[in-house]
């Protein structure tokens, strides 16, 4: 990050302080953080992903309601259906977030990624946090409504 001097004015008075997460990837403003990432797909994974998507979307509010810390979450297929790109805004630190989604929405995430994302086991597998961490890309800029 640059260290050039900030010119203080009436607009900088409203500035949001952006930091990195204290315990993992992603940017952070106040209580909220962001992560984005790319999962590689197994051959035929995109077709399976699309087949499962309606049920996954229909159950989103239920499972995210259990987690209770996610502001928004989106996914799309990238590069001729060879990858999934996802991005999420959530409350709190990175590691507790991973624990939360594994414990409270594990079956939902397994239902979309298992057999689709190359290398994904199940959310509760002990190697999954490291696997997810390997595929995350931190943002370079973040804005959140205060």
């Amino acid at each position: 990050m640059t260290t050039a001097k900030i010119v203080q004015n009436e607009r900088t008075a409203e500035a949001q302080k952006v930091t990195t997460q204290p315990d993992g990837p992603g940017l952070r403003i106040g209580k909220r953080g962001e992560i984005s990432g790319i999962f590689p797909l197994v051959p035929g994974g995109a077709r399976l992903f699309r087949e499962r998507l309606p049920q996954f979307q229909a159950e989103a509010a239920y499972w995210e309601g259990r987690v209770g810390t996610v502001h928004d979450f989106r996914m799309f297929l990238l590069d001729n259906d060879t990858k999934i790109f996802f991005t999420i805004a959530f409350d709190g630190d990175f590691k507790p977030y991973l624990d939360d989604i594994a414990n409270k929405a594990g079956p939902w995430l397994d239902s979309i990624f298992l057999g689709v994302a190359d290398g994904f086991k199940v959310m509760k597998d002990s190697t999954t946090p490291e696997w997810i961490g390997k595929h995350i890309i931190s943002g370079v800029f973040l804005f959140l409504v205060p």
Partner: protein
């Protein structure tokens, strides 16, 4: 501005919330220049300027693919065209500054800007919003009310 898909714009909608996602090619060396632009110095002023639009819940930039591509994601209230028009009328310099490292970016005031955006916009296959029917202004109002109640409660228990 041209309107390549009048009435049919990319992106998913949940309640009043819309997802807006772009994948853009970066100019050679653009990733590094962008990281410098978007350091602490730039963020401070830019975020308060963005706040003036009043319909953006969040937005983020992610550089990926060995610094060759840019991912931009935002969640906004209302209409796609109004959202783009707000960028052009309220924060044109910010937008040109932010997207100036993208290949082919014509500038927010270009008559081709909406064609450029539509060409690079990716409609999500899954979109979840925690409060799809609460606008940014609803959230601000709720926070003000909560702040007032907190003050009353704090005074009552002091």
């Amino acid at each position: 501005m041209s309107n390549p898909q009048a009435g049919v714009r990319p992106g998913l909608k949940a309640g009043r919330s819309n997802e807006f996602t772009l994948i853009l090619p970066l100019k050679p060396g653009g990733a590094e220049r962008m990281r410098k632009k978007m350091g602490d110095t730039y963020k401070a002023q830019d975020q308060s300027d963005t706040d003036r639009i009043g319909t953006i819940h969040d937005m983020r930039f992610v550089i990926f693919d060995n610094d060759t591509r840019l991912f931009f994601a935002s969640t906004f209230d209302g209409d796609w065209d109004a959202y783009i028009n707000d960028f052009g009328t309220i924060i044109p310099d910010v937008i040109d500054f932010q997207f100036g490292e993208c290949e082919g970016y014509p500038g927010i005031h270009s008559p081709n800007i909406k064609d450029y955006i539509v060409k690079h916009q990716v409609t999500a296959t899954h979109f979840y919003s925690a409060y799809p029917n609460a606008s940014v202004r609803d959230v601000w109002k709720a926070l003000k009310i909560k702040g007032g109640i907190d003050v009353v409660l704090d005074e009552a228990t002091a």
